[in-house]
Subunit: 434 residues, 2 copies
């Protein structure tokens, strides 16, 4: 799982080597100070190793070593670490000796403690990026249309690209993804014959699961072309086309009425300035007894996505803080019934994905190139680290019409006979609240 | 339970009676229109009855009749219904034939549908009222120092004046209050020997329960003098003074460290502009593994408390919307783990209180006067109605330090062996998360 880059394979220019000066050493120490003195070593281009003062005083050994291949690379790391670390890593100028994920966790923890010491409440200025339907289509194409064959190499067999639910460990990724879908369906208290609108279908797994196991009809919207085509093929193969309709269109164009609205892993791609618009759309779909669930990556405090991820992995993405999510509900008088934070489950999900990714690294290199493999390795390992160290959250929010009393008294129905349902079809009655 | 006021007992001046004119009838119809045509009849001072047009067209009979004893009263209801309805009711100029709670529910539903039709998102201007420690002391004295004997007549035997948890109906109020305390303690995952800080102790029931059943030590703060004295007496009587300290002081003066912070039914009395201050206090108390729970009446959309309740019942109170509550957590990087909305449980709790209040109405009249009885009857019945019709919410929010991984993976521990714990002491180990 640690990164083993073969530098000669990379397209980057030959790096200047040279003697290490007192200034280089001072710059490394300065960089470690800015990063909150993580328990990491830095190895320079001549093999010289430096450690943070806390690591030297500490009885524990460094978690890993960051290898920097040139003065140019060191200077780039110093001038804009948020963006340049990922770029230099992807090009093979930075490497890690040790476990990449552990090193990134240590960096996160160390940076977080500095931010606290300096009393930064992490309120960075908001980025303003285009949030139109056209920009959304471009952004989504960038990530989700990389080819279904690529995602098949490291996601579960149903291609769920969202946080799984490991409620009965040890569990396989496959079982945890089914548990997640059942957890969502139970929270929505789906009844046979009900109509569901889904915004953001992925490769269709949840829509098909809801139809198959809970007997509902689903209209599911998505703007990622390859996903929609594959979802439609799966619906056909499963004989569920009369129950599930996959529509290639933007959430902005959703109309009609439904008993339950669900969106798993789409809100991250909706800019917060569009939340009132999204809320209005939901408001227009839900009748008096209607309810909904939104599952999204989130934040403890509003701040933009880091610039490397935003530029190279998820253009236009913005995980919301809960305060921002309330803009979906409060203007329309929706009642927030239940918020659950499944952050640790996402760290675990990502560990599974990263392990499968590493097992298929050679094939992925053949499909793309070494730079792509390194970029995605960093993205997956950094994502494990951000969920593990609490930089990112995973919120499931259940809501209903403010005046509806058709809401459960307790949440005990989510935890009764938890495993029985996923193994037996057509028992959604038992999900009913008391 | 319906109000049976004896007007002759009231101190109000003799009311002018007189013939009903076309203008009186037009004013009543106008009032019913403004209220969204509720299914109610209005009876005027000469006995003449009018109904809303929807009620006349409707096959269902009116839910009840609002009796108005004079033109003066009708004009006051029209000029400022939010404030004057309660005033005229308290003075016996307005009465209700039928079930008071049902009539108020019908009024709420009807008003809500008008607000929706007019596309009001209920964003009223915020009231600005003093939020200082001194003002808080005055406001709290007004309500909570009415005398322990008064509250003993209609609360449960442990005097819990917050929403109970009816998770295993049918349940007595007493059992549901114990279930609520256990639900809170399980959410906090209390371990024997841990230190808890409580803000707002009421009559001490939760602090004593936590010490007795979960083996923790508690420092509990309250500014309601009579409550503190009684709590201290109870701690002495239970032999728990080494574990529980009741302190008559404001939350602003809380210092020291604790493993868990808890506040049940206090936030309603903290003005939203003071949330950052309260958040900073909690931030100062909680170590890295610290966690907390805040239980409060809340709103789906920010708006001030109605003016009658604010003036006569709860001066200075302001239930928050969830967006406002996030101001407690987000500036300090707290992680919101769990939000539960127990609105229907508060409607049920209030039904119990109202029934007991009615049973003791004669004794309460002797302690105060008829006006007080009518005021509190309206307050309790209107509170049933506001929770029943979704105007008010009850939020329990669990939070932890953003970087703490000592958080449960699932919430199944809240629903396992739910009833066993409250009957057996010292078994808090079983509450541990997986």
């Amino acid at each position: 799982m640690p990164a083993v880059a073969t530098r000669s394979e990379m397209s980057a220019p030959a790096v200047p080597t040279g003697k290490i000066t007192w200034l280089d050493r001072w710059l490394v120490r300065h960089m470690l100070r800015l990063a909150g003195q993580p328990r990491l070593a830095v190895e320079l281009w001549n093999g010289e190793r430096l450690t943070a003062s806390s690591a030297r005083n500490d009885s524990t050994a460094p978690v890993g070593t960051v290898q920097i291949d040139s003065r140019r690379c060191l200077l780039r790391l110093l001038t804009d670490p948020e963006l340049h670390f990922g770029e230099e890593w992807s090009d093979g100028h930075v490497d890690i000796e040790g476990d990449l994920t552990e090193v990134l966790c240590e960096l996160n923890r160390s940076l977080e403690s500095t931010a606290r010491r300096r009393n930064h409440p992490w309120r960075w200025p908001r980025l303003r990026r285009p949030g139109s339907a056209q920009a959304a289509r471009h952004n989504i194409h960038h990530h989700y249309d990389l080819g279904n064959d690529f995602y098949r190499l490291w996601l579960d067999e149903q291609l769920l690209y969202t946080c799984a639910y490991f409620d009965q460990p040890p569990m396989s990724l496959e079982a945890a993804q089914i548990a997640k879908m059942d957890h969502v369906c139970r929270k929505l208290r789906l009844q046979p014959g009900e109509r569901v609108i889904e915004a953001g279908s992925g490769w269709g797994a949840l829509a098909l699961h809801m139809a198959r196991r809970y007997g509902v009809t689903v209209r599911s919207y998505n703007i990622a072309h390859e996903q929609v085509v594959e979802s439609q093929r799966l619906a056909h193969k499963a004989g569920l086309t009369s129950q599930v309709e996959f529509i290639e269109d933007d959430w902005r164009n959703i109309t009609g009425s439904c008993d339950a609205f669900v969106s798993v892993g789409m809100l991250e791609h909706v800019r917060p300035e569009n939340y009132p618009h999204l809320g209005r759309m939901i408001d227009g779909c839900l009748p008096r007894h209607g309810r909904g669930l939104i599952h999204t990556i989130g934040l403890n405090t509003p701040r933009p996505l880091d610039r490397w991820t935003e530029r190279y992995i998820f253009p236009g993405a913005q995980p919301p803080a809960l305060s921002q999510m309330t803009e979906l509900f409060e203007p329309y008088g929706f009642s927030i019934l239940d918020v659950e934070n499944l952050r640790l489950h996402y760290a675990e999900t990502l560990r599974h994905w990263l392990a499968r990714f590493e097992q298929s690294a050679d094939r992925i290199r053949d499909m793309f190139d070494e730079r792509f493999v390194r970029m995605w390795r960093l993205y997956l390992a950094a994502s494990v680290a951000t969920f593990e160290t609490g930089w990112l959250q995973l919120f499931q929010v259940v809501f209903a019409r403010g005046a509806s009393n058709d809401v459960p008294w307790t949440r005990s129905h989510l935890y009764a006979d938890a495993r029985r349902l996923s193994s037996t079809a057509g028992e959604s009655q038992s999900v009913r609240s008391q």
